[in-house]
């Protein structure tokens, strides 16, 4: 029974590590695009309100920004969890950490989607 639990935990941990690595590679691309689009090709280095609105008014851009939000939130929360779990917490504290970072990640994505839909309704 303990062996089965250990194997399950190992598989879950392996998936988490893979998820962290894959989302990290995706972020290299998505964050690169985000930085270029928002900082490096814009006169003055940052988009003003009108420029932001016309930029996100493009459905492809809006979709890419939402994918970026989901990937960055997932990567950040998984990384935060791994740092916290390696601090030597007890079982109940580990569960609390997992639930808290999951909740925070969901809040970040929901907030981002709300913000994007609010802005898109003004375009």
């Amino acid at each position: 029974m303990t062996h089965v639990m250990d194997t399950r935990n190992q598989n879950r941990a392996g998936l988490g590590w893979l998820g962290q690595a894959v989302s990290g590679v995706l972020l290299l691309i998505l964050l690169g695009l985000h930085m270029i689009a928002h900082h490096f090709v814009v006169k003055g280095g940052l988009r003003d309100y009108q420029e932001v609105m016309s930029y996100i008014g493009n459905p492809v851009i809006a979709a890419i920004e939402l994918i970026f939000l989901v990937v960055v939130s997932y990567h950040a929360m998984l990384g935060l969890r791994s740092v916290l779990l390696d601090l030597g917490l007890g079982k109940s504290q580990e569960k609390w950490v997992t639930r808290s970072v999951t909740a925070l990640g969901i809040i970040m994505v929901v907030y981002g989607v709300w913000l994007m839909s609010t802005l898109l309704s003004r375009v």
Partner: protein, 142 residues
């Protein structure tokens, strides 16, 4: 092997990482007795925590967009000041360093390029510095 470098299995990723710092956070910064790879691992965590904090602040700041041009454009004027541009350049160092070092950790952790890991570290470090300098010039130039 020094006590600081003694193998500790990660609870988050058991079996995936051979050597991790001890559980006391202050021991992460005992660089004197660590290998270069270990120092990179610790720096990746510290930069990662900083970037999580920045991400949360960035999301909150974006709420200024809901206040319309007067809210957002006032913030943009502030963000274009030399002080904030310098903060952007520091942030970029964290992003580029964390990204490229994370790529190194992912490659080595999956058993790729292990015989060339020192060379990989040097190549990525040089690439990171070049990218950072180019980005800093673009940011200051505006």
């Amino acid at each position: 092997m020094s006590p600081v470098d003694s193998p500790v299995e990660s609870k988050a990723y058991p079996g995936q990482s051979g050597q991790l710092p001890e559980h006391q956070v202050w021991r992460w910064f005992a660089f004197a007795r660590r290998s270069l790879g270990m120092a990179g691992f610790v720096l990746n965590r510290v930069a990662g925590l900083g970037l999580v904090l920045y991400l949360l602040i960035h999301l909150v700041v974006l709420s200024q967009l809901t206040r319309g041009p007067q809210g957002w454009d006032a913030f943009i004027t502030l963000a274009r000041s030399p002080f904030f541009l310098t903060l952007d350049v520091i942030l970029l160092a964290g992003i580029i360093g964390h990204g490229l070092n994370g790529l190194r950790v992912a490659l080595i952790g999956n058993g790729l390029l292990v015989p060339w890991q020192r060379r990989l570290l040097v190549v990525l470090a040089v690439l990171g510095i070049v990218l950072w300098v180019i980005a800093a010039v673009l940011i200051y130039r505006g």
